[in-house]
Structure formats: C-alpha cells, structure tokens
Symmetry: C2
Subunit: 426 residues, 2 copies
C-alpha cells in the first residue's frame, strides 16, 4: 500500500461539518491500507480575521509577531481534524511545523523551507496513526515560528511529501483539476488528466490560480507526483475513482508520446486587470532598461511583461505591464524620475489591457505555433499590442474588451475543446 499526503484548503476545513467530511475521506484512505499524512489549512476566514486584528493594532504588523499570530489558524485546524478522525475510529496525531520540525529560513511571512525531519512523522505512521501536520508554517534556526506566505500550505504539503518520499501528494481544492482554460469563459473547456510541471507553472503564474506557484516549483524540483482534485465529491466516493480523478502534475519524460503529439498546446491562460506603459524614443544606450525599471521597483510596483524592440535610428521603444492599480503611480515614477535622467523618451500608457497566453510543452518542438495564434487573433479582428514568448508559452497583450473572444477563439483553434474527461478515464 502507498504512502500518501493529502492537502485540504481553508474552504474544505471551513466548518465543523466540513472538517468531519475531511476526516471521513481520510479515514476511507486509511482503512484501505494507505499510510496517510494530512496537511490542512486554517479554517476559511480565520487567517484574514487574525491579520485584520493585527492591522487594527499595528498598521504594518511586525512580521515576526504576525507569523506568531497567523500560525495559530493552522494549529487549531490540525487539532480539530485529529479529533474528527478519532471520532471516525482512526488513530491520529497532530503536529505543528516546529514539532515536526519543518525548518525554514528567517524571512518572516515569506519563509522558505530548508529541511524537514521525517523521523517523528515516520515513527507515528509506523504505529498506524494518521499524522496531521500544520500547513503554511515552520520554525527558523533561532526557534521562531515562521510562515511561508499566502497559499503556503500547498508548498508545505508538497515539501512534506518530498521529505517522506510519499508515493503521491493529493491537493484537494474547490475545482476538480486543471482546465484547458477558465470554464466560465469557454463552456467546453476540458479538464486535463495530466500536465507537466513546466506547463503548470506557466498556467499558474498566468492566472490559473489552482496551485501556489512555489508548490509547483517544489514538486518539480523534488519530483513529487502531485494531483489536484476536488474536495467537493462525497467523502465516501469509491477510492479507485478518486485516485484517478483530477489532474496529475507530472514530468515531461512520463508523458506518453500520444499526449504530446495530440496537444501541442495544453491550455489558454489569461490575466485581466493589467495596464501597459510604453516609453518611446528612448536613447539606445547600455543600462537603459535598469534605469527605467529601477525606480519602478523601488516604488514597490510589480512588473509583469517586459518588451523592448530593436533600436531604429538610435532610439528604441520600451514597454511593460503592471497591475491596473499601480498604473497611475507607475506613470508618475516614469515622468518624474526616469524621463529627466534618461535625457529623452515619451511616456504613453493604456490603463486597461488583458494578457492572453497559450501554454504547452509541444511548442518546443513545433514551429509555427505562435503564428497560428497570431493568425487566429487576426481573423477575429483583434489587434495585438505586445508579444512576449518563452520556451513553452506565447503571450500577447490585447484590448481588454476582446479577452473572452480571444480565449474562445484560441481554445477552438488549438483543438482544446471537448467534453470533460470521465472520472477515472485516461
């Protein structure tokens, strides 16, 4: 029988009844003979409640103390889940991050896991106990409580799975897997049975927020077989059905050839609420890019896409996108701090644009994928404002109002549509 890690999000742990459902599901796996480790999040709303309390006291809460505070949410969850499992007749024991211990660096509120001691976990697994471990948190070398930042429980689960060499890490969430695109926009979007880590990373960072990006990186680095699946199925759903549901995030070499041939593109990701800023007639000299983006970064404005074109007549154009909320501030930084020092340049901007990306490992080996994308958009009369590419994705910036049209057209053009695959199907 296998060694399995389950991770449950805040919604799955959101009430007494839901915690009982989680316990029933875990008990089912345990009774089938699997050795189980469970990583639950804080009950939905709890982390926000705590952070609101902190902010009411200190506008920018001290980060060490904020971690001390926020980590209590998961600590309460693990204890409650252990109780619920005992009611199910399954022996269980809960551990905090420091009890395992899960050792992190000291970057409070965004710590990174350095090591996990599996000794204690294994000792209790050997006694046929379900081991429940707090997500989101660890302990630094000085004995302080740290947290991994928002969504850190995904990372905790994958890291624990890596440390104990689990056969699979199952991330239960409120969607039933990773889709070719957002089903709210394309009604016949298809759930993917499998996706590679690389594709998942591009999908996640581009807005398909199923899994925290860092957890996917972790899974890729330590080769943890990770599955995203629904926590909304009945807890007593047949185990073999559940084991093959959702989307398995896996390695390139494990993907079968057929899959790669069939679908050069795995999905269409997109991002709304972005804004575009362009500096034209910038003198084409070394160091220009950093002189433009340095002051932007110093103003704590995150930049997404960056595009610079070949210089013509000694000047070049430089464009980047930011979150819509940062648009005005970014314009101001450019006009007041950048243009005067550059000795040239004109600032223009578009306060509302959208980014659409095609993602797929198949792109590496198929020429002409990008041009097929551009052709498709042209056919719909959608003007492309910016283009940026990587090995496994191509992104374009378009007018916001064309977003749905673009996603639907691309989804169709790349043959992604289809009825959702049946549970357990391949």
């Amino acid at each position: 029988m296998a060694l399995i890690v389950h991770k449950y999000g805040g919604t799955s742990m959101g009430s007494v009844e839901r915690i009982q459902n989680v316990a029933r599901r875990v008990a089912k796996w345990h009774r089938a003979g699997h050795r189980m480790v469970v990583v639950p999040s804080a009950m939905a709303g709890e982390t926000n409640r705590l952070i609101d309390l902190a902010k009411a006291i200190q506008a920018e809460p001290d980060r060490r103390e904020l971690d001390m505070l926020a980590s209590t949410g998961e600590q309460a969850s693990v204890a409650l889940l252990a109780m619920a499992l005992k009611v199910e007749g399954v022996d269980a024991i809960s551990f905090t991050g420091w009890q395992v211990p899960i050792v992190t660096d000291s970057a409070f509120t965004k710590a990174r896991i350095e090591s996990i001691d599996d000794h204690r976990v294994r000792e209790h697994l050997d006694q046929n106990r379900v081991v429940i471990i707090t997500g989101f948190q660890g302990i630094d070398h000085a004995g302080n409580i740290t947290t991994l930042g928002r969504g850190g429980s995904d990372t905790s689960a994958v890291a624990v799975a890596a440390a104990i060499k689990a056969d699979e890490c199952l991330i239960y969430t409120d969607v039933d897997g990773v889709y070719t695109t957002d089903p709210r926009i394309v009604s016949d979007a298809r759930r993917l049975d499998r996706i590679t880590f690389e594709e998942m990373l591009e999908m996640a960072s581009l807005g398909s927020k199923v899994l925290q990006t860092r957890s996917v990186e972790f899974a890729g680095k330590y080769k943890v077989k990770t599955r995203v699946l629904s926590s909304l199925t009945p807890p007593d759903i047949a185990l073999d059905k559940e084991m093959n549901s959702g989307t398995l995030i896996t390695f390139e070499e494990e993907m079968d050839g057929t899959h790669m041939e069939q679908a050069v593109i795995s999905g269409i990701a997109f991002q709304r609420d972005e804004a575009k800023i362009t500096l034209t007639k910038v003198p084409d000299v070394p160091g220009v890019a950093s002189r433009i983006l340095g002051p932007v970064a110093q103003a704590n404005i995150d930049v997404d896409m960056i595009v610079q074109n070949q210089a013509v007549n000694g000047t070049t154009d430089f464009s980047f996108t930011v979150n819509q909320n940062d648009f005005k501030r970014a314009l101001k930084v450019l006009e007041e701090q950048v243009v005067p020092t550059l000795g040239g340049g004109e600032v223009t901007g578009d306060p509302l644009i959208a980014k659409v990306s095609i993602v797929g490992l198949g792109m590496k080996s198929h020429a002409g994928i990008a041009s097929r994308m551009f052709e498709c958009l042209a056919k719909e009369g959608i003007n492309i404002r910016m283009i940026s590419t990587s090995e496994i994705k191509t992104s374009v910036v378009i007018e916001d109002k064309y977003l749905e049209l673009a996603v639907r057209a691309l989804h169709k053009a790349f043959g992604l549509e289809g009825a959702p695959v049946e549970e357990g199907g391949a």
Copy 2:
C-alpha cells in the same frame, strides 16, 4: 530598578482597544526603568470558542489535541500585545510556552509546571526588550503542547516570576484587590492592603475567586511577592500610586505586628449553591468514611466539607456537602451503593445550604474566635447545621436564606468594616 512580571486576564485583553491599554500600562513601567515580563491570557471568549468547536466535533475531546487547540488563544494574544508595545515605541518580543521553554508533566488539560528555563527570557530582557510569554501553557518532555487548566495563566505568571526571581508579580484583574468579604453583600467591606498566602488560599478556595488557588500555592512555595490589582484604572495612572494599590499577598513573617493584633480575622468567605447530605446511624467501624465517600468520588462528585461526630451507642453520624447540582446523584449513590454495603444508616439531605467561613491568621493565637462567631450567629437567630475548622479558618453550614445576614453580622462583629483604604495607604 526592579524586575517585574505583569499578568493580564482575558477581559483586560478582550479587544483591540484593551490590548492597546495594556501596552500603554506596560510601556509606562518600562519607561520608568523597570525590566518587564508580561503574561497575558487569551482574549475573552476565545478559549470558550475553541472548546465549543472541539466539543462539536468530539463530545469528549481528546485531551492532547484539546491542548494543541486551546493553546492558540494565548499565542495570538502575545503576538498582538507585542505589536501594540511596538506601536508604543517599546521593543518587545513574544514567546510561547515551548519557546521559553516552560516544561510541564504530560497531564494534558491540567498539566503541572516542572521547570522554567530563564535563559532566553533574560537574554532579551538584557537587550532592553519587554518579554511577553503565553500564559496557561507549556511543553512536556515529549515535545507536546500542554495546558495548565482554567485560570492557569495566573500560575504561569507566578511561576515565571519565581524562575526569573522577579521582585514582584502583579496580577491585573477586574477587581481592585482582595476584600474582607464580597462588597455586593457588605457595602462597607474593606479592601485588604495585605493578606498572607495561607489566608488567601482559604479565601480563594472558599469562594473569593480572585486568584487561581494553584497560583497562590505556587507563590507561597517559591515566596513570590504577588499583588492583585485593578486593570480598570487608567493606564497612565501615576506609577507610584499603582505600585501601592491592590492587595499584596505576602508571608506571615513579613506582616507587621500591628496588623496581626488589629485584625485576628482577615475576611469572611462564603459559598452558596451547596447541598448537605447526612448519613445517620452508621455502624462505627474502621473504614466507614472511605466506604461512604469512595462510591461518591467514583461518580465524579466533588465533596467539600466533611464532618463526622463522636460515636454514640455504636453508631455515628456522617455529613458532607456537595455542589447543589450533584445533590440528587449523590443521594442516589448513597442509597443504592453505600447503605446496602454498610449494613445500616439512614440518608437525609438538605438540597440548599450555604457555607460561611471566617478566615484569619490571628485565629491561631487567639482563643475564643470560633465561639465569638457562634455567639454572633446565635444572636441573629441563625441555626448552625455543621461546623468545620482548620488552623486559620472556621466554617459553618447554615440555611441558604440566612447567608447575607450572617456575612453582614460577622463582618461587623469582627470589626472588618471601614472605608476602603486610600490608594497608596498602608
């Protein structure tokens, strides 16, 4: 300057505003040059909220997991208070029980403190920080979180004060000290400037619930100068006034002679909601008492007073008091389990009685104190049902309806009345 421990209860920590007030008060002490350790309780209501959640999941929650859960309340408090102190411009750092560490035995939900390592606390005090430590909790030798039971934060504070050899432990609460009796019954009840540990123990266990009994025992054992004072005074009240307010719990040898002569009795304690059960015509043979109380204890019924009289004609009478809620169950236990095995005895009971006690170290050296008590009650026409005495207290059981009358008459008879002593007075 002194090394001081402050303890704040759940009410004092009950809201953002109140936490800010606690921070202001602590900051005032710190600015005056004192080295400060603070032990706050969980925010009012939080511990109950957590226990209710646990009970909704498991009727009798697993005790290890309950401690894991309940300890989060204090952990949140210390973090919030550290933030509030930083806002006051005072450097502060919070620690959980396991971080100090406060080592306890493994009796979950009612653990006892075994040792406290003061190394870490001192290190941060030396850096001019206020050190904030979770009340109510510790860590056992296996690394599990334990709690000390309800009111355990008082004990934590006194134990920490003992470990770091604090000059004084100040317990801030919603009353301004220990009174000669309940001011709700006797309007001119007087706040005591000082009381001995022994008297405080009798006052506490007899119903003057100002401090948890165990914390008083601890203070007595480790000679921790402990003061009970009000958290309701303005946080910026003058420090010298605050330092001399409340009631100091101290040692017999420190009490000045005058005090002992003046007041042979320190206070009148009482307990309502008790019931009395009497077994008459009990065969006077060895082991009778345990054969009566054994089954009562097994039924988890707490017994308060126990009185047995000299045997007459080979039989004796045996009486004890229980909480009113346990009266019917106790009667049933006696009739069904005790009387049949004793081979005799008749059960009678009184479902509602009250206990009144006079408490005072002076009783040791003054003959006739008890008789003065009985005389006073007789003068009021109050019949005494039971009498029990110890070195520093005499308790009587009377009809419930006479309670207020008895307390007022005794308070007057022993000259306890008087206007509350001025703040700072001796």
